[in-house]
């Protein structure tokens, strides 16, 4: 009965983060097994510092007050919620090597590697 959801996060703006983590937490709350594969700019979404201050895409700055008004949870809150719900967070090893990033520059509780990524990509991928 457990539906599997694989999400590929390859962009690094605040909007991208919401698309990824909203879908992930909603799916996980509905008992799906969820894995997110973070690659290239998508790594921003789980970078220790960067994920707390993701940029709003240029020209959309005025949405900032909308996020506040609607009491939309912050990205760090959503990430914590996702991890609590058992969402697997996988950072792409190859991108990390290319960008000279280490595992300790990312939030706690992530997995690194291409092996794990390929195994979770078997179910329907959703590209965000």
């Amino acid at each position: 009965m457990a539906t599997k959801v694989a999400i590929i996060a390859s962009n690094g703006s605040l909007f991208d983060a919401y698309k990824v983590f909203n879908v992930a937490t909603a799916a996980a709350a509905s008992d799906a097994e969820v894995g997110i594969f973070f690659t290239f700019e998508g790594l921003n979404l789980i970078h220790k510092e960067a994920h707390k201050q993701l940029p709003i895409p240029a020209g959309n700055e005025h949405f900032e007050e909308g996020f506040k008004r609607e009491n939309v949870p912050s990205i760090p809150e959503l990430v914590e919620m996702a991890q609590e719900l058992g969402v697997k967070i996988i950072a792409c090893q190859m991108t990390m090597d290319v960008m000279s990033l280490d595992k300790d520059q990312f939030i706690e509780g992530i997995e690194v590697g291409e092996q794990r990524a390929s195994s979770i990509m078997r179910p329907m991928p959703i590209s965000v």
Binding site: T3, N22, T25, A26, A29, S30, D31, N71, V72, L85
Partner: protein, 190 residues
């Protein structure tokens, strides 16, 4: 209107997907068969909660709206109820109840579901005493009349029928199909 539940979750002011995320967490805190009330101001929570209940297998009872606040009622599923054998020997089919109602017979219908389940749809005139309270409230029911005990699927009413027989009730019948297959008239407390 307030409906008695086992747990109230305040998700007011929270945006999607927090209401269902919080609901999932709250469900872990209650026992199978118990009912929770989820309060939310997110308009989308109505569709979300219904879809969530469907995918997670819990029972969605209904929702009410009070001003800005939506109140959703959910009952936690449990396999105990489905697997339990019904073995109270005196049973009736839903159809018989419908005929008795049509004929205007003076029968007592005892609904042993949770108050929230009763609120969102019950047989007209049915008396509501949840199974968990039955032992203490049995004296509210007359021993002289024919009593038809009903729940959602006939399992809780099976247990209730046995409890009542032990306490000296003679004329009890379990309505075996229960409300899940009820096609007769429905009354709602809203």
């Amino acid at each position: 209107m307030s409906i008695k539940t086992d747990h109230v979750l305040d998700a007011k002011g929270l945006a999607c997907p927090m209401p269902i995320v919080k609901t999932k967490k709250a469900m872990k805190e209650v026992m199978p068969g118990q009912v929770i009330e989820v309060q939310a101001t997110d308009k989308g929570s109505l569709a979300d909660i219904q879809a969530w209940a469907k995918s997670s297998g819990h029972q969605y009872l209904g929702s009410t709206e009070e001003g800005e606040v939506l109140k959703h009622y959910l009952r936690k599923s449990g396999d105990a109820e489905a697997k339990e054998d019904k073995n109270f020997p005196h049973t009736v089919q839903n159809e018989e109840i419908i005929q008795k109602l049509d004929a205007g017979e003076d029968v007592v219908i005892l609904d042993v579901r949770e108050p929230a389940e009763y609120t969102f749809g019950h047989i007209p005139g049915a008396v509501s005493i949840p199974l968990g309270e039955l032992e203490d409230r049995m004296d509210e029911i007359s021993k002289d009349k024919e009593i038809y005990v009903v729940c959602r699927t006939g399992s809780r009413s099976d247990l209730a029928s046995k409890q009542m027989e032990e306490k000296g009730f003679k004329n009890i019948k379990n309505v075996v199909q229960g409300m899940v297959e009820w096609s007769g008239p429905l009354e709602k407390n809203q």
